[in-house]
Subunit: 569 residues, 2 copies
């Protein structure tokens, strides 16, 4: 199981990767090597799926692969690889496909049957579902192949495989990270393996792609629902597993549960002798904070590197959000690649500068100070701005400075906003919202604090300097855009705010439900109004890593022009 990071659109590079990892696996004695869903194109390719030239290139790379595998000495291995197909199958259409390669040929193709079209997924926009179900016979072992969503829906190809009889199910996946999704996945794979009456090898994509992070979490589950092997999350990993498979069931072909089941004999019985290896220990599950941190580091690192950025720049206010983003950036890219800028104004507290400087000391990132008073005065004086307009000018001058440094030195600008702020619109558009990437945009404020404490504790455990100043964690949050301003002047307590937001944004609960959950009606109306009215800001916010069930972005699609408000019935 090759848990690899396939790069969207880099067909040649991804094909090279299939060759390289196949060779490693064969050298390690593998008879069968499986790659993730759409491993040849990357995932998700979005509207590239509709472009004929792209589909043709995917087909061409796939068609060349079997010959190249033979040349690479992998001709005897069975290789399962995800790719984008167009018009090669039964009937026309673009397909989310997996090919079985062996002996210099494409010996079978499977087309994804269940196409997810909810949450971040739009697969009905692109793909035609498949209805054939090839089973390949490898050394007397009957192997079925399915793709990702096929195991998340009841019925479908795994049930058909169970009915038809098979000895192993290979499921190739690209499953976006969400908090605690790994627990759900394990239980699901166990259930489907039981349904198939055979072990399931679940091989998954890893790496960041725009707002999505694929955490890997490849595993093998026995037909009895026991975990046989599990790969670590967030890293590329070759998981080689010996399975003693019976190959003695009663099998049948034909129309089974709506699938056209056909068997393809590939390699002669019986299984060749091999030296059995000790089972690899299953990777330890990560704590919630460790998992989220891993996702955020992966998302930021891959967005920067895959888009050609060697360095990042961000504003350092001494507050918790910028401190956590800085610590993430240092973990993702190394301190030498991180440029922090303190941009004090007349309203900045002493601790905002000293905490920012301390963060720089602790992490070793580049630190500079750029006061904003001269710029702010130029705008405020000429335009005669006061109040909110003046506050926003401060935030926007900081945005112009960061963009100027980005233009000058090629840094990626990071926006520091968290999910709670983004939800209620507590940010200045074109001000602190400026950035090419927003690492914690899907992290609720209360979790930002937990992550800071967890990261510092990890450093303590490893005998390293905790990156985040205690002052940044413990002081009351403030935007410091006017004297003595505190977040709590205009927002509810963050514990309460995050609870309501979780129910309203992620849970999509209406007014009556929120009242039933125990929140005061006035609080609900206030928060809901803020969330609804901030939609226009979110549309122009930078992309950032999804970690929750429902991130702002393609997970939650609401009109800007929207007269609907949850209210007292």
């Amino acid at each position: 199981m090759a848990q690899v990071d396939a790069r969207v659109g880099d067909l040649a590079g991804n094909a090279e990767q299939v060759l390289r990892w196949s060779r490693r696996a064969v050298e390690d004695g593998a008879h069968l090597v499986a790659f993730p869903e759409l491993a040849l194109t990357g995932y998700p390719v979005e509207d590239l799926a509709l472009r004929e030239s792209f589909a043709a290139a995917s087909r061409a790379e796939l068609d060349a692969l079997p010959g190249r595998l033979v040349e690479a000495g992998c001709g005897d291995a069975v290789v399962v690889v995800g790719y984008l197909d167009r018009d090669s199958g039964v009937g026309a259409g673009v397909r989310n496909a997996a090919a079985v390669l062996h002996g210099g040929r494409v010996v079978a193709r499977y087309f994804k049957h269940h196409l997810p079209n909810y949450g971040v997924f739009d697969e009905f926009r692109y793909f035609t579902p498949g209805s054939t179900l090839p089973i390949v016979r490898v050394h007397g072992v009957e192997v079925g192949v399915v793709i990702c969503e096929d195991i998340w829906q009841d019925g479908g190809p795994v049930a058909a495989l169970g009915e038809a009889g098979c000895d192993l199910v290979v499921c190739v996946n690209a499953s976006p990270y969400e908090r605690a999704k790994d627990d759900e996945r394990g239980a699901l794979v166990a259930r489907r393996a039981a349904e198939a009456g055979a072990p399931m090898a679940y091989v998954a994509l890893v790496g960041g792609q725009d707002e999505l992070v694929f955490d890997g979490d490849s595993m093998v589950m026995s037909g009895a629902g026991e975990l046989v092997a599990r790969a670590p999350q967030f890293v590329e990993h070759l998981l080689v597993v010996d399975l003693d498979l019976p190959g003695d069931a009663t099998y049948r072909d034909g129309d089974i549960a709506g699938f056209d089941v056909r068997r393809v004999p590939l390699l002669p019985d019986p299984v060749p002798s091999y030296e059995s290896r000790p089972p690899a220990p299953a990777a330890e599950p990560l704590s919630d904070e460790a998992e989220v941190w891993g996702a955020l580091v992966t998302g930021l690192r891959d967005y920067a590197h895959k888009n050609g950025f060697a360095s990042v720049v961000l504003g350092l206010s001494g507050g918790i959000d910028s401190s956590v983003v800085a610590a993430l950036a240092v973990d993702a890219l190394g301190a030498a690649a991180v440029h922090g800028v303190s941009m004090p104004s007349a309203y900045s507290s002493d601790h905002s500068r000293s905490d920012a400087a301390e963060l720089a000391d602790r992490t070793g990132l580049h630190y500079t100070v750029q006061p904003i008073e001269a710029m702010v005065d130029a705008f405020v004086g000429q335009l005669g701005l006061t109040g909110l307009a003046e506050e926003n000018v401060q935030a926007r001058c900081r945005g112009v400075i960061l963009m100027g440094l980005s233009n000058k030195d090629g840094h990626l600008v990071l926006a520091n906003g968290n999910k709670s702020e983004l939800a209620v619109g507590y940010s200045t558009i074109y001000g602190d919202a400026v950035g090419g990437f927003a690492p914690i945009k899907d992290v609720p404020k209360t979790l930002v604090w937990s992550l800071a404490r967890w990261r510092n504790a990890e450093a303590d455990k490893r005998g390293e300097t905790p990156p985040i100043p205690v002052g940044s964690i413990e002081k009351p949050p403030s935007a410091e855009l006017r004297p003595g301003q505190l977040d709590s002047d205009s927002l509810p307590d963050y514990e309460l705010l995050d609870a309501v937001l979780n129910d309203y944004v992620e849970g999509d609960r209406g007014f009556a439900d929120l009242v039933a959950a125990g929140y005061p009606a006035e609080l609900i109306e206030n928060i809901v109004r803020m969330v609804d009215r901030a939609e226009f800001k979110r549309r122009q916010y930078p992309p950032g890593t999804k970690i929750t069930r429902k991130g702002f972005g393609r997970d939650r699609r609401l009109p800007i022009t929207n007269a609907w408000r949850e209210h007292t019935p």
Copy 2:
């Protein structure tokens, strides 16, 4: 046929509107009144469709309507109204529904069968397709109801209505405007009417909703494909048409073409006598420019008004883009609501100020001058910026000024970018890209010029002052961010650029196709690279009215992180 503007989320207001227009129609002698698709909720409601409280509110408004119609004296009329249903039908699910109301009751419900899931549409995300097909018998006339996409796909309910036999098909629609789509629509309605062997009354939504404009274009087509009546585009309109319908065919019920066809007798035969009126003249089709102008005015006006803005502010550079946006804004909102700001820099030409001032004179909009030198110097001096970084600071200072004025006076900020610039990334993010709405973001540069000439010629025809200075139309385009800069320094001629963009962006053509279309390989690679690399800028660009087959936005969904490039094979 009530061609109305239903407001997304305003269920109470939309229900009032149904009552008001039904009364008008009944007073005008109508036996049947039809409203557009989802007339009760507005369209598209996006993820509001998934919220239980919203679906319940839609059901409740719908259920209250028949009684309210009786009270309003419309109990004898048959009223067809689109609404969002949940769990009332055969099987569970959210439905894009049309209800037939009569005599104080909901007498039939139809659920949209074909769910569009391409282009701007995501209806598989929300809706469960229907499979029943009620036909109501009104004064001896058999009337079938279908919804929008149902007539855009071959097969489906209209074919079933033809087979079952009916005398009139009512098709309720929300069909987003695209250039020349009205021609396509007319031909389509004629074809389906022929398929049904009966006239089709096609009633359509009007008004702007975020990036979409619904142009109306309601019509009645005879079973022989002759246009009987047609409403004007872009305005609310009650189209009352007398149809002499036979009511004498041979009808059958049951399972027809996959639909469960059921007939509902409503009103007794025969048709009551009525005084026949002369047929209304069909609205004259608009010229291409008039139609696009109408769409842009509607999109801007409705975005501003529906989001509570009474005025707009925009930068006036004396160039063609800002002049056209200003003229649109004046047409949409009136000159008193439009605030133009000239923001000259050290590099601004004399004509940039004089043309802007002339535009203000011609249109009567509010005009002020805010030089940017002091602000630019503050940034450039402190940060030591040169070259592109310095150019961008100029654009960003203008953005900060416009946002400051917006914060101060409550204006909606308009961004002036056109589609060609947006395609190749020829704009400064957080600079000229600043705005709540971008009226011409889907208008190619060459069409911007045509619109300017057309609008001036229209003014001449009407004996009014042409709004746009000739100098703005005729001078070579320049961003004026450095001395003597011209667009043609870094971009191909706009005629050529727009031709390639049309083929690449709207046509989704690959490299070989583009070469076959006659463009030089180097030019293609250059343009394609610019388009692909600007994706991150487009993601943060303001919304603006779609007028082409494929606007940037939800029409064209591409990854930012994307290694795929069209290139020489």
